[in-house]
Amino acid sequence: MAALADLTIAGARGLLGKGEVSAKELTEAHITAVEAARPLNAFITETPEKALEMAEASDKRRAAGEAGLLEGLPIGMKDLFCTEGVLTTAGSHILDGFHPTYESTVSRNLWDAGAVLLGKTNLDEFAMGSSNMTSHYGGVENPWRKSGDNRPLVPGGSSGGSASAVAARCALGATGTDTGGSIRQPAAFCGIVGMKPTYGRCSRWGIVAFASSLDQAGPMTRTVRDSAIMLRAMASYDPKDSTSVDRPVPDYEAAITGDIRGMKIGIPKEYRIDAMPEEIDALWQQGIQWLEAAGAETVEISLPHTHYALPTYYIVAPAEASSNLARYDGVRYGLREPGESLDEMYEATRGKGFGAEVKRRVLIGTYVLSAGYYDAYYNKARKVRSLIARDFAKAYETVDAILAPTAPSPAFGMGDKMDDPIAMYLNDVFTVPASLAGLPGISVPAGLSQDGLPLGLQILGRAFDEETVYRVAGVLEEAAAFEAKPTFLAA
């Protein structure tokens, strides 16, 4: 059974297609894996019965010759996507007992493609965090451990449950959402592939909003090919999302040709930050050599406003969040704590319903939008944001893609950095610029740290040029030949 859970999406698709395995068998193997991985706390809600029903329906469709792109493939769904009739928490106490009557567009697309729901994966509360430690449902463990050190590590965040589940072979793939790095950073920490597509590529309809101008759904998988297969099923134009973009979804898998000869890859000099660990820099240099060896030309480029990306992000995202989270007021759904007056009810509900990190960001966001501070913070951040976007646009006049590290460190210990939000926010330093510019980026596992932990490199691309991103990522993946497996699987 373990062998079935160790398959890739592409591999499982092949076996299902040839009839060597049924969706039901594949799903049963994964349900077993999900149960075995409970110590990781990767799932908030497991849906084994639903999974089996969906798998059986899938086998019938296949028998009827109606197989979709992801027919019969069991996946995890980040618990930020609303799923009809299935508890949806956003990792927050405030959504206690919330069972949506509707299905998010992305999850709907996945079910329409034949995918099977294993359960809802854990995440930082309202996707706010880089460690998955802010979840009301407890932190998620990274299936990796440092060599010779048995202390549990974070999977990164906010899509930590998805990353952990995919790395631990509980699911063939899982959905994530990336606001400032929430797909790419946990993918890097857990040694898997995480793709944040262009803003507007996947519909945001039915995804609990964190920061609307940044949130973007994407796939988390074990290979670049799997990522391409899964993104094709997730992406769509959605008239219900005004920021969704109406353009055809290409066959991303077909873009993975292995041929990047003549391509120009930009190496942004501003990403060489102070205090960059030696091993991260070395891996980056290794990546440059791999791409050059494959026939690409690497050129140093400048993204001059990179330095401002992190502060800009930590103004824009909390500002939007402070407003997006106003709807959790105890009036219509989720938690309600009684109070003598409406204001007291609000205070009690939100005081108890939100965790510390969410409160911190709501406060920051409220502050930067306040009269007298708006221009100094929010408005300035908006202006800087457009300069950051312009940096990228200018760079892409000369290069086809950009290579950079995904995160400035490997996974850290559970509980570390919790008392230092700034140190925690620094995790996003390499992922945030592309988020602010709305550009696609993928993190590919590229090597191990001295402590034996996975490290990722990311490829950034032009808007709606996920194909080039996948093509370069495919080459990087092949060159890196990352085959190490998480400690959890050996145990």
Binding site: Y102, V208, A209, S212, R327
Partner: protein
């Protein structure tokens, strides 16, 4: 300009109005839910209106078109780019915790409204802006001792906020402004203007100053829901402010609430307590870009508006400004009048429509569409006057009969034998008899007392039960008495 005489001299009101007009549209501003009035509570609420997690607004193009129509009807600048922003505040009937509105970049900029005043004079009032926004839901506090009920049917319904410049100087002008605005909105079909259903509400901004001096500190009286209340609220607030000022006090910039039952307002919150709405562009919506060709299309589809109609009635029909103003105040009335006036004497038509017809309409309380005397029938009556079949006096009697029975004028004239006597030999015979029987009055007339002629006319009319052609009677009398 109406000045208020205080103990220390004259004061002038400075009034600006913010009108919230509910857009006529089947669906809400950002959702497909119905907007029909009077439905069961919470029966017209989409997932978006209830602000369920992950729900996103999608702009209703028809609402945008209605705003553009209104802007064009107010001779206002249409902004090709406008931005929806979030106005953040907490309230139980505001599910999102913010209202999607427009702030720095409204869809419509400056325009003008021409007021038609009682004396037939006109006055221009500037429009500052018009923007689109969502309505909130409704809180119901009187059905449970300790809890409130929430009805979200109205949540998300499209409103236009139409902001005037501080150009009005009296309660009468404010009333005229609201009536004119309502007329224009109804002509355009963009708002039904029914203040009692809440589809038009006004906030009154008012300050007092000595004539010629700069503006004073203003107060804002919220959500006044009839023209009469607006005028009452203005009078009351003006008196209150004058009292404060004349006692050496200062006006506090504040929001006040008007109570139609008591005719008084009370402070709701001061400037210090004012909400910080933390407006910022709604990241769920792209800036609204309008195609100039589309605006031209809308412009071409606009109906003739009241001001244009009024000047046409004045120049084309020779009506006085007052009559023309009264007739165009309602689009259906204006159309009714035009049907009546078609091919007839327009002044006669105007007199009959604004006189007998309005009188009967008001008295009966029925709607124009349901009236027993339609425009064609009224025209038929006027034709009988014009061709001398009946006199104007008889026509009034005929009209009353028409209103009662709904029958045509000619049928009634026929049945009742009201046809005018225009046969000169018949009238001559009558006149001869009267002259012969009243030598005293004949003497008086010959002695130069012209007034006696009227008495002779009366005698002829009496003898014919009013059916004698009055012109002919006069002519014959003068001839015989001559």
């Amino acid at each position: 300009m109406a000045l208020i005489e205080g103990k220390t001299g004259a004061w002038e009101m400075v009034i600006g109005l913010e009108v919230h007009a509910q857009v006529i549209s089947k669906a809400k501003l950002f959702s497909g839910a119905s907007t029909a009035f009077g439905a069961e509570p919470n029966s017209q609420v989409s997932l978006v209106d209830a602000a369920m997690p992950g729900m996103l607004p999608v702009l209703n193009r028809h609402s945008v078109e209605q705003a553009v129509r209104t802007g064009l009807g107010l001779n206002a600048k249409i902004n090709l780019t406008s931005v929806f922003e979030r106005k953040n505040y907490f309230y139980a009937d505001l599910p999102q915790g913010y209202q999607i509105s427009q702030y720095l970049h409204p869809i419509v900029g400056e325009g003008t409204i021409i007021l038609d005043l009682e004396d037939g004079e006109t006055r221009e009032v500037g429009i500052e802006r018009l923007h689109l926004e969502q309505d909130a839901g409704k809180s119901i506090h009187d059905q449970h001792p300790s809890q409130s009920y929430i009805d979200l049917n109205r949540s998300g319904v499209t409103l236009m906020e139409i902001v005037s410049k501080p150009d009005m100087r009296s309660a009468e002008e404010a009333g005229a402004y609201l009536r004119k605005l309502r007329t224009i909105l109804r002509y355009l079909g963009t708002c039904d203007g029914n203040m009692d259903e809440g589809s038009m509400r006004a906030d009154v901004n008012l300050s007092m100053r000595r004539p010629g001096e700069p503006f004073g500190t203003r107060t804002e009286t919220k959500n006044v829901n009839s023209i009469r209340f607006v005028q009452q609220a203005i009078e009351a607030e003006a008196r209150r402010q004058v009292e404060v000022l004349e006692e050496g006090g200062e006006i506090v910039q504040e929001t006040r609430l008007f109570d139609g039952m008591t005719g008084k307002s009370r402070s709701m919150r001061s400037k210090e307590e004012a909400h910080d709405y933390r407006y910022f562009p709604d990241p769920d919506l792209l800036p609204l870009e309008l195609d100039p060709a589309w605006i031209e299309e809308i412009k071409a589809s606009l109906p003739e508006l009241p001001d244009a109609k009024k000047s046409r009635f004045m120049s084309g029909f020779g009506l006085p400004a007052y009559d023309a103003g009264v007739l165009v105040a309602d689009r259906e009335i204006a159309a009714f009048f035009e049907t009546v006036a078609e091919g007839r004497d327009p002044k006669l038509a105007a007199n009959w429509v604004t006189g007998e017809f309005f009188g009967a309409l008001n008295k009966s309380g029925i709607e124009l569409a349901d009236t027993p005397v339609d425009a064609k029938k009224l025209g038929g009556l006027l034709d009988l006057i014009a061709d001398g079949t009946i006199s104007g006096r008889i026509a009034k009697e005929v009209f009353e009969a028409m209103w009662e029975s709904g029958e045509d004028a000619s049928a009634i004239v026929e049945a009742k034998g009201l046809k005018q006597i225009s046969d000169s030999s018949e009238i001559e015979g009558l006149v001869d008899d009267i002259i012969a029987n009243n030598p005293k009055q004949v003497e008086q007339f010959k002695g130069g007392n012209e007034k006696v002629l009227g008495w002779f006319v009366g005698q002829v009319m009496k003898a014919t039960q009013g059916k004698a052609n009055p012109g002919l009677v006069n002519q014959v009398l003068r001839q015989k008495l001559g």
